[in-house]
């Protein structure tokens, strides 16, 4: 038998039947080159196996998360049916001049946060805030986010702290996981407006992390982030502008620079906007907005 015919890999991997193993054994006994080759393969396996793969995550937390995400993705029809039922109920309730249906308002708010929805929910007073907190446990992550975002806007400091601590618990490997995981499903791009709003209102690093995940999700999500942030950059509230600029700085995404140029004449944010533009473009036109717009291609 020539060395080329020896099935050394299969021999090493335990893939040969007894008779074939015996043939290879026979060859190895008389061939130093094949013995060296086999030893080399064994050494390779030892070296590769000596590299650790890293500790596995906590089993309970892992299982809990798989369970929650499996539930979320299962049988969309019961959720759709439930949503239809809620919408129907909301209609009946509205006809009867009953209070606002918080959950269906939240579902709409998650898709498009509007001041009208905010004021309707605000009008429900203390009871409405309680329902918002309960909605943090909703099965739909979008509703959870809408509730969190509104709580940041409306609730007192103690409630805001409670909401924040629930988000932070989620971040902790051994904490209780009360919220579903965003940024994994293609339809999660619907979460963008409300997450931007959360990042701006709550100044929460966790919301920033979620935005980063959504940013990587798909192109549609990226477009939505750009749209929401550009709108906020043009806000009349300087705090909102400041937070929006932070998002522009931190997120790996191509934001339209003219929106940042517009901040140049802001007494509060002009200097920061200028630093950002210099860094991004490696150019410097001071606070001359026209020169900047000309250099970066104006408004498209």
């Amino acid at each position: 038998m020539s060395c080329a015919d020896v099935r050394l890999d299969e021999y090493l991997d335990g893939e040969l039947a007894e008779a074939d193993r015996a043939i290879v054994d026979g060859h190895l006994a008389s061939c130093a080159a094949c013995r060296a080759e086999l030893e080399q393969s064994r050494k390779l396996e030892r070296v590769l196996q000596s590299v650790p793969s890293g500790a596995a995550p906590d089993a309970d937390r892992f299982v809990q998360s798989v369970r929650a995400r499996s539930r979320r993705r299962l049988s969309p029809w019961p959720f759709a049916a439930a949503a239809a039922l809620l919408i129907g109920l909301a209609g009946v309730l509205l006809l009867q001049n009953r209070p606002v249906d918080i959950r269906s308002e939240l579902a709409s708010y998650a898709k498009k946060p509007t001041e009208e929805i905010e004021s309707r929910i605000r009008s429900t007073g203390h009871a409405g805030l309680g329902q918002l907190e309960k909605s943090l446990d909703d099965h739909d992550v979008k509703v959870q986010f809408a509730a969190a975002s509104l709580l940041f806007k409306m609730a007192d400091d103690a409630t805001r702290d409670r909401v924040l601590s629930r988000f932070q618990q989620k971040k902790e490997p051994n904490g209780t996981w009360t919220l579903s995981e965003p940024g994994t499903d293609d339809s999660d791009d619907e979460l963008v407006p409300v997450t931007v709003s959360l990042a701006v209102d709550g100044q929460d690093r966790w919301a920033m992390n979620v935005l980063q995940k959504l940013n990587r999700l798909n192109r549609q999500a990226q477009h939505k982030i750009v749209d929401s942030v550009v709108t906020l950059l043009h806000s009349t509230n300087v705090d909102i502008q400041r937070h929006a600029l932070e998002i522009v700085k931190k997120l790996e995404i191509e934001f339209p620079l003219p929106a940042v140029v517009d901040l140049l004449d802001s007494p509060e944010l002009g200097d920061e906007a200028l630093r950002f533009l210099r860094q991004e473009t490696k150019k410097d036109f001071g606070k001359d907005k026209e020169a900047w717009l000309k250099a970066i291609g104006g408004r498209n």
Binding site: D9, E10, D13, G14, E15, Q40, S41, K43, L44, E45, V47, L48, Q49, S50, V51, P52, S53, G54, A56, P57, A59, F62, V63, S65, V66, R67, R69, S70, R73, L74, T184, R216, N218, R219, Q222, E252, I253, E254
Partner: protein, 186 residues
Amino acid sequence: MSEGDAMVDAELVLKFQGGEESAYETLVRKYMKDAYSFCLRLTHDAQEAEELSQMGFVNAYRALRGFRGESSFKSWLYRIFINQYRDRLRRTRRAEARLAVVREESARRQSSAAEESSIHASELEEVVKNRMERLPDRQREVFTLHLYQGLDYNEIAAALGCTYDDVKMNLSLARKRLKEELKGYL
């Protein structure tokens, strides 16, 4: 994998298909470490590995009712993880191609991450990681399933949806290449 082990899996699958949800949890607990370490070997990123392994189990949960046992549960499960990994890889590559800015940023980040990790990880770890990453996709998958997950050729073929001979050839090519590239450490 022992035959007894495969039998236990098959029983758990049947229980789950019969409506016993807790049987699936038992399977998740049994394979989560393997799944996670497999994903980690492929991605070299703990967060990404946890995400991939969790989503693999979520997808397996959805598909398990239709599982008819043509291969072992273990091979079937690895097939799901592989598909999950390939999807993610495609998505990442597409996204990177789309946004030049993101690509540059990511390259900057990777190089700084590499600098950082070279301080912490041993030189050998870095070299192994690097060489494994440079293997063609199929060779890396075959070799990882074989060496780190302990699957035999038939199990790997079932997991990857290829033939026994494909496994043999890819394993042999990966081995040859790694021996050459890591000869200073052997």
